[in-house]
């Protein structure tokens, strides 16, 4: 009976498992193989170069800059969106009739098509006709070139990244806040704790697992950022927004260094894997 059940179970997962093998495992292994070659993605010959691509990575100033940009982007987007998401969740936790409406409004960027949103943001940041600079010009300030300015481009694309992520953090924190045991708050209130003290000593510590979840998924998500930056700046100016996935794309598909791009891909994979392991460890730690 048990083995029959097992057979049925295997049969049931077979379609998904086949797709997983064909579209995830196989390309993954194939890219590992390509990362050891100097293949251009077209040539009939795939020249084996060993670990040369990986050792070149460490000496490539463009890769190192790209790595730095990715770290700055991911850390700032994750932290700021988490703090803001928590703030919104906290403000909207009281059962106002309008709370559901605002929650929907703040969540809508999460489900908005990124490419469409990126195009709109591009218009907003337009140095000539965009509302930001038009507004600044009206009060006598010459606004920056935003997406064309190496000092402001990363700020601009990070703003979009944060805008896109706040809603997700807010929803998770909202769920977390509503599931907190009221007994702790009642006990603390009896001891005379109010306002900030409740927040500092009760709410925030109780939300630790939720915060970790939001931070780590945020990190995994933003390390892989591609679409809106591709649309808005394509990595420029002066490489100031050239995140790793964009660097990978340009190496592989613009200048035909597919072997090298595969090596970049594995580094990216390493970062995401490390973040995931961190999450597991943390989860294990809090479950004890």
């Amino acid at each position: 009976m048990r083995s029959r059940q097992a057979r049925t179970a295997y049969l049931l997962i077979a379609p998904v498992f086949l797709l997983f093998l064909a579209f995830t495992v196989y390309p993954l292994l194939w890219s590992a193989q390509i990362s050891l070659t100097s293949w251009d993605g077209l040539n009939a010959v795939k020249k084996f170069v060993g670990l040369q691509n990986y050792s070149h990575l460490l000496r490539d100033p463009e890769f190192l800059q790209s790595f730095r940009v990715t770290v700055i982007y991911s850390v700032s987007v994750t932290l700021i969106s988490t703090v803001l998401g928590f703030g919104l969740a906290f403000l909207l936790q009281r059962r106002h009739r309008s709370a559901a409406f605002y929650r929907t409004v703040f969540f809508s960027p999460v489900v908005t098509a990124t490419v469409a949103a990126a195009v709109v943001w591009q218009l907003i940041f337009d140095p000539f006709a965009g509302p930001i600079n038009v507004g600044l010009r009206a009060i006598g300030i010459a606004g920056p070139g935003w997406l064309g300015d190496p000092h402001w481009a990363l700020v601009a694309v990070s703003i979009v990244g944060i805008w896109k992520r706040i809603g997700f953090a807010m929803v998770i924190f909202s769920a977390g806040l509503s599931s907190l045991p009221t007994s702790c708050f009642e006990a603390a209130a009896l001891d005379g704790a109010t306002g900030w003290r409740l927040m500092r000593y009760i709410t925030i510590p109780l939300l630790r697992p939720i915060t970790a979840l939001v931070l780590i998924t945020g990190l995994i998500d933003s390390v892989q950022v591609f679409d809106h930056i591709f649309i808005m700046t394509n990595g420029g100016p002066l490489g100031s927004t050239n995140v790793l996935s964009l660097y990978l794309y340009n190496q592989g598909f613009k200048i035909f260094h597919l072997g090298y791009a595969s090596a970049v891909g594995w580094v990216l994979f390493g970062i995401v894997l490390a973040a995931t392991i961190m999450q597991w460890q943390f989860k294990k730690g809090t479950e004890k």
Binding site: T8, L11, L12, A14, P15, L18, L19, A22, S38, D40, G41, L42, N43, A44, H56, E62, D126, P127, F128, A129, N133, R137, G145, L147, G148, D149, P150, N234, G235, G236, P237, L238, G239, N250, G252, F253, K254, I255, F256, H257, L258
Partner: protein, 429 residues
């Protein structure tokens, strides 16, 4: 009972899904070969160009029984990755038209059909096929003595200018600049209109866009890009520095141009821009201003040069019937009469002398005078190096130049860095 029944149904469903997946992985089992040869034709011609292609293809399908050509359009940036994965997966389309800049790499794939052989073999027939196609364009078509693609279209870069802004700045809208000095003076006057308006819009974002826009300046000063054998850069010279300094001064000395995003001219926020003939119909329909075109200004008004762009059409090797059908389509599409219709509909430039002198084309030029600058310039159009390392060379070159536009590196240092980076890219590391 019910539970076991539903489990059986689920298992059956799952089994059929799995079988379906396995079957679709092998198209030979999934669908039996049907008689008319269907040719997928991958390209990136969208908008008006896409419509023009559909019209022509419909005519072909009607006049050629047994062959059905189906155009499939991708965004420009997606086409090459699609071809790369199709080559890897062995699912290449029968036909494709791609940017000439990618041709050297595509030739090396070993998957392109030898058109000389497919259209009759022997050298004589190659000449018969190519006929009066401009020889510069054929540099992208040949690989190891074999004809593996044909020019499907060509274009070049000329000066677009905003007549409304010329008027507002007190300039004669019918007298566009001929020399660099005139262009600089006009740009300065227009930028002095204020309100964020640029005199001249310069492409400063790294990538082939920057390289291809800047190369005409290098050719005009005589600096060139690579040497004749395409083995070393030639731009790191006094002439090269003069070319780059000219543009950098517009940005950093005159402040009549800005480094950064591209697109100001389209909105009427820049007086001039260099761009291709494919922009003409779009501006005619949508530009919120009156525009004009002129040949690219040169240092002295005499030493003309522009960059040659365009697409090549090719067939990927398939079975005998597919190869023959693909070759038939390519021959038809590149013929004088079809090319004349194609150029009129798209505002691309003629690839053959016979197209340029055809009545269809001549009549079109009367209707769209903005094309004259491009047609008159075609003879000065230079080809970018048709080598496999070119995409990497262009990328390295543009990235080294970008800081000069932002004033963070001197012109001399930027070109020296570009020289080193290009040598490295040529060596393939």
């Amino acid at each position: 009972m019910f539970a076991s029944k539903s489990r059986k149904i689920a298992a059956l469903l799952s089994l059929s899904l799995t079988a379906g997946l396995l079957l679709t992985a092998n198209p030979a089992i999934a669908a039996k070969k049907s008689k008319p040869v269907t040719l997928q034709f991958w390209n990136y011609w969208d908008g008006e160009n896409g419509k023009a292609l559909s019209t022509l293809v419909a005519q072909f399908n009607k006049s050629h029984r047994g062959i059905i050509v189906k155009p499939v359009t991708f965004p420009w940036g997606d086409l090459l990755p699609k071809i790369q994965s199709a080559i890897a997966a062995g699912t290449t389309p029968a036909l494709a038209a791609t940017d000439i800049a990618w041709m050297a790499n595509l030739h090396q794939s070993g998957k392109l059909l030898d058109l000389g052989a497919a259209l009759g073999g022997k050298k004589k027939s190659i000449k018969k096929v190519t006929g009066d196609i401009y020889p510069q364009l054929l540099t992208y078509s040949m690989y190891k003595g074999k004809l593996q693609s044909l020019p499907a279209s060509t274009n070049n870069l000329a000066l677009f200018y905003n007549k409304d802004l010329f008027r507002r700045a007190g300039l004669n809208p019918n007298n566009p600049p001929q020399t660099w000095a005139e262009m600089r003076a006009d740009a300065l006057k227009i930028s002095q209109l204020g309100g964020g308006i640029q005199g001249m819009e310069i492409y400063t974002q790294p990538g082939e866009g920057l390289t291809w826009q800047f190369q005409p300046y290098l050719w005009q000063t005589g600096a060139g890009f690579l040497n004749k054998s395409n083995t070393a850069p030639t731009f790191n010279s006094d002439a090269g520095r003069k070319a780059l300094q000219f543009l950098v001064d517009l940005i950093n000395v005159d402040k009549s141009a800005t480094a950064g995003q591209w697109g100001a001219f389209d909105k009427g926020a820049a007086g001039m821009r260099i761009d291709g003939s494919w922009m003409v119909s779009g501006y005619r329909q949508n530009a919120p201003f009156e525009f004009g075109t002129a040949m690219l200004p040169s240092p002295d008004g005499v030493s003309r040069a522009t960059n040659m762009g365009g697409e090549q059409i090719m067939a990927f090797k398939g079975n005998k019937a597919r190869n023959a059908a693909a070759a038939t389509f390519i021959k038809w599409f590149t013929s004088t009469s079809v090319q004349a219709k194609w150029d009129v509909a798209t505002n691309f430039m003629p690839t053959r002398a016979s197209v340029a002198s055809s009545t269809t084309m001549l009549r079109h030029l009367v209707n769209e005078p903005a094309l004259n600058a491009f047609v008159n310039q075609q003879k000065y159009a230079q080809a970018r190096p048709a080598i496999a390392q070119y995409p990497a060379v262009s990328d390295a070159f543009s990235k080294a130049l970008e800081p000069a536009f932002y004033g963070t590196t001197s012109v001399a240092d930027a070109l020296a860095a570009a020289d080193a980076a290009v040598r490295k890219a040529l060596a393939g590391s």
